[in-house]
C-alpha cells in the first residue's frame, strides 16, 4: 500500500517538471541567501571576538555557509534533472541517478533543519562566552601598554558607548577592579597609598567608572567619580539617580543583540527548509510517476506517483534487511566446513510418478 499516491496524467507530469525546474532555480537563490546569512553571522561574531571567550560559536555560521553552498549545487543539479524530465527519453539518462539524488537531498534537508535549530539553541554558549570574555576585557582595561591587550580599553569604551551599557552586569563591576593603570597613579600621595593598602591584593579600587559609561540623556554633566558619595556632589543622591550612567549591563545588551540576530536568521533558515522540503516532495513524485510510466511502457499513459511504494514499516524493514545482507556478502559460512552440499535433504527424481522403488529381495 503506497504512501500518499497521486495519479499523474502526461500533461500533469510535464507541468510538474516545469514547475519544479523553476522552483529549483529559486532554491539556488535561497541557497545563496543561506550562504550570505552564514557570512553575515560570521562577520558579526568576529567583530566582537575580543569580548567573547573561546567557544563553539563559530560552528553555527560555518554550518550555514556549508549548507548554503551545498544547496546551490544540489538545486542546480535538480533543475537540470527536472528540465530533462519533460522528455521521457532524456529521463532514461537520469534514471539511475535520481534515487540517490533524492536520498542525498533528503539528508541535506535534514542538515538545513539542524542548522536552523542550532541558531535557536546557541543561547547558553553565548551567555557563557560573553560573561567570561567581558570579565577579562574589563580586567585588562588598564593594560594599554601590554602587547596583546593594548586595544582592550578602546574596545570596551566603544562597546559601552555603542550599546549604551556599563560593566558586565551593572556599573558596580567597575568598583571591583583596578581600571586605572599604575603608570598614572602618584604613589607619593597619601590617598593613593591608602587605597592600595585597603585591600589584600594591593589594587587601586575606587567608586568610579570610565567616561564611556556616561549617559548622553542625563540633564547634568556626567558624574564619573565618587559615585556612591552623595556629599561630594551638589544636589545628588546616587540611590535615586538613574540617568547619570547607563544602567544596563553589557552582557545583557550583547546577549539581546545577538539573540535578535540569531532568531531572525533561524526563522529565515526554517522558511528555506520548508521550501526545500516541498521541492524534494515534488521531485520524489516526479521520479516515481516517471518510473511507473517506464514500467507500463506507454509514455502517454496515466501513472501513479507516491512517496513510498509500501508503507513506512515495510519500507523500513526491507531497507534494514538490505543493509544486513550487504554486510553478509563478505562472510563465509564456516559451520558446514565450507561444503555447500552437507545437510541438504535428498532430492533424487524417481521417474514421472516420483515413487522410490521397492528394495529388491535379497538372495539367500
Amino acid at each position: 500500500m503506497a504512501v500518499l499516491p497521486i495519479k499523474f496524467t502526461k500533461t500533469k507530469r510535464d507541468k510538474l517538471a516545469q514547475v519544479l525546474w523553476v522552483l529549483n532555480w529559486i532554491s539556488v537563490v535561497t541557497g545563496i541567501i543561506l550562504f550570505s546569512l552564514g557570512i553575515f553571522l560570521k562577520v558579526e561574531i568576529n567583530k566582537r571576538q575580543d569580548l567573547m571567550a573561546e567557544s563553539q560559536l563559530q560552528s553555527v555560521p560555518n554550518m550555514l555557509i556549508a549548507v548554503g553552498l551545498i544547496a546551490c549545487v544540489i538545486n542546480f543539479l535538480g533543475g537540470k534533472i527536472c528540465y530533462d524530465c519533460v522528455d521521457t527519453n532524456k529521463f532514461l539518462r537520469w534514471k539511475l541517478v535520481m534515487l540517490p539524488y533524492i536520498i542525498c537531498t533528503f539528508f541535506f534537508t535534514l542538515s538545513v533543519l539542524v542548522g536552523a535549530l542550532m541558531c535557536y539553541s546557541m543561547h547558553g554558549q553565548l551567555e557563557e562566552a560573553l560573561t567570561l570574555g567581558l570579565r577579562d576585557a574589563m580586567r585588562y582595561y588598564k593594560d594599554t601598554d601590554t602587547p596583546g591587550r593594548c586595544f582592550l580599553k578602546r574596545t570596551v569604551d566603544q562597546l559601552q558607548i555603542q550599546f549604551q551599557c556599563c560593566g558586565n552586569e551593572g556599573y558596580r563591576d567597575w568598583f571591583q577592579i583596578q581600571w586605572v593603570s599604575n603608570r598614572y597613579l602618584d604613589m607619593s600621595q597619601r590617598e593613593v597609598v591608602d587605597r592600595l593598602r585597603s585591600n589584600v591584593e594591593g589594587k587601586y579600587l575606587m567608586d568610579g567608572v570610565p567616561f564611556s559609561c556616561c549617559n548622553v540623556n542625563s540633564p547634568r554633566p556626567c558624574i564619573q567619580y565618587q559615585i556612591t558619595n552623595n556629599s561630594a556632589h551638589f544636589n545628588y543622591d546616587f540611590h535615586t539617580e538613574e540617568l547619570n550612567l547607563w544602567m544596563k549591563g553589557c552582557r545583557q545588551a550583547l546577549r539581546d543583540y545577538y539573540t535578535n540576530i540569531m532568531h531572525s536568521v533561524g526563522l529565515t533558515v526554517l522558511i528555506i527548509w520548508l521550501f526545500e522540503l516541498s521541492v524534494l516532495t515534488g521531485v520524489r513524485y516526479l521520479q516515481t510517476s516517471l518510473e511507473n510510466v517506464l514500467r507500463q511502457g506507454d509514455p502517454e499513459c496515466e501513472s501513479d506517483g507516491w512517496l513510498l511504494e509500501n508503507s513506512f514499516v515495510e519500507t523500513a524493514r526491507s531497507n534494514f534487511n538490505i543493509i544486513k545482507h550487504l554486510g553478509k556478502f563478505n562472510q563465509i559460512n564456516i559451520s558446514s566446513n565450507g561444503d555447500p552440499n552437507i545437510d541438504k535433504p535428498p532430492t533424487a527424481h524417481y521417474g514421472p510418478d516420483n515413487v522410490p522403488p521397492k528394495p529388491l529381495p535379497m538372495a539367500s
Partner: protein, 352 residues
C-alpha cells in the same frame, strides 16, 4: 545653414530608434538613482539640522530630487517617441509636442549641472551656518530645563561622540562658555564663588570639557577637568598630550563629512547629465530624420537629420518672433474682451 547635419539611411534610422529606446530605459534608472541620492542627501542634512542655522544648502538635494523625477518622465516620453518613430503613421502626432519638449528637457538637464556647481559654491555658506549653529548648541548645552533648548545637550554629546570631534573649532571653545547649569553648582563653596566672580558676566567658567570629548583611543583614563593644570594630574602635560581628547573641531568634521558625501554623489550626477544630453541629441536627430519621411510614399528613403534647421542666431531670432507674436495675440485677445463694441463697428463700414 544647418547645424551639424547627418545623413540617415533607413537601417541607420531603425538602429538609432532601437538603441535610443534601450538607452532611455537606462536613463530612467539613472534618473531614479539621482532622485534617491537627492533623498539621501536631504535626510542626512535634516538629521543635523539642529546644529545648522540656515537651510541654504538644502537647495542642492531639492534640485537633485526634482530633476531625478522629471528625467524619469522625460525618458518615458523619449521611449514612447522611439517606439512610434518606427511606424511612420503614428509618428506625426508627436510633431507639435516635440519642440517645446526639447526646450523643457534641456533646461531641466542643465539644472543638474547647476546643482553640482552649487554644491561647491555653497560650501562657505554651509560652514557659516554650522559655525552659528554649533555656537548656539554649545551656549545652550546647560539649559536642559529650558523648553526649546533642552535637547541641545543630548544633540551636542551625540554629535561629538559620533563625529569624534570637540567644540566648534577645537576643545578650547568649551572654556569660554558656562556648560554646567547653576542647578548643579554649590554657591556656598568658595571655589564656585571665586570662579563666578572672576569674570564680568558672572559665569562659571572652567578649563574643563564634557565627557563626550573624551577619546576612547587614549591609553589613560580620560582627563576632562583642569586640563590646563599639569600639577593636578600625575604624569600629564597638556602641551604635548594629543590623545586625551578629540583634537578636531565639530565644524570641520561636519563640513568634511558633507563635502565627502557631495563628492561621491558628484560623478553619478555628471554621468546622469551626460547620458540625458546624449539621449536628447539623438532624439532630436531621430525627430528631424523622421520628419523627412512624413508624407513620402517610400518610407525607406534616406533622409537628413540635424540639430537646428538654421544657424543658432537665426533660430534664436525666430523663436523671439514667435514668442512676441504669441504675447501679442494674448494682448489682442485681452483688448477685444474688454471692448466688445468696437469689433462690430469695424465690420460695418466694410459691409457698407
Amino acid at each position: 545653414m544647418v547645424l551639424l547635419k547627418m545623413k540617415f539611411p533607413f537601417q541607420k534610422r531603425v538602429r538609432l530608434a532601437q538603441g535610443l529606446w534601450l538607452l532611455s530605459w537606462v536613463a530612467m534608472f539613472s534618473g531614479a538613482i539621482t532622485f534617491a541620492m537627492g533623498v539621501f542627501l536631504k535626510t542626512e542634512l535634516h538629521r543635523r539640522s539642529e546644529v545648522m542655522h540656515s537651510m541654504d544648502i538644502h537647495i542642492v538635494p531639492n534640485l537633485l530630487m526634482a530633476v531625478g523625477l522629471a528625467s524619469v518622465g522625460i525618458n518615458i516620453c523619449a521611449g514612447k517617441v522611439c517606439q512610434d518613430s518606427l511606424d511612420p503613421s503614428r509618428f506625426p502626432r508627436w510633431k507639435t509636442f516635440l519642440p517645446p519638449f526639447f526646450c523643457f528637457s534641456v533646461f531641466l538637464t542643465s539644472l543638474l549641472l547647476v546643482a553640482m556647481i552649487l554644491s561647491f559654491a555653497l560650501q562657505p555658506s554651509l560652514e557659516e551656518s554650522l559655525k552659528i549653529g554649533l555656537k548656539n548648541g554649545i551656549s545652550f548645552y546647560k539649559d536642559t530645563d529650558t523648553p526649546g533648548r533642552c535637547f541641545q545637550k543630548e544633540t551636542i554629546d551625540r554629535l561629538q561622540i559620533e563625529f569624534q570631534c570637540c567644540g566648534n573649532t577645537n576643545y578650547r571653545d568649551w572654556f569660554e562658555v558656562q556648560w554646567i547649569s547653576n542647578r548643579y553648582l554649590d554657591f556656598t563653596s568658595k571655589e564656585v564663588k571665586d570662579r563666578v566672580r572672576s569674570n564680568v558676566d558672572g559665569r562659571y567658567l572652567l578649563d574643563g570639557v564634557p565627557f563626550s570629548c573624551c577619546n576612547p583611543a587614549s591609553p589613560r583614563p580620560c582627563i576632562q577637568y583642569s586640563l590646563r593644570d599639569n600639577s593636578v594630574h600625575y604624569n600629564y602635560e597638556y602641551q604635548t598630550e594629543e590623545l586625551n581628547l578629540y583634537s578636531r573641531g565639530c565644524r570641520q568634521a561636519l563640513v568634511s563629512y558633507y563635502m565627502g558625501l557631495m563628492n561621491t554623489i558628484g560623478p553619478c550626477v555628471l554621468f546622469d547629465f551626460l547620458l540625458q544630453m546624449a539621449i536628447l541629441v539623438s532624439l532630436r536627430y531621430l525627430q528631424t530624420a523622421m520628419e523627412g519621411v512624413i508624407g513620402q510614399e517610400n518610407v525607406e528613403i534616406e533622409t537628413e537629420g540635424y540639430i537646428l534647421e538654421k544657424g543658432v542666431k537665426e533660430t534664436l531670432l525666430e523663436t523671439k518672433e514667435k514668442v512676441k507674436r504669441l504675447l501679442q495675440l494674448a494682448q489682442v485677445g485681452d483688448a477685444s474682451s474688454t471692448t466688445p463694441g468696437t469689433q462690430p463697428e469695424e465690420e460695418k463700414p466694410a459691409t457698407a
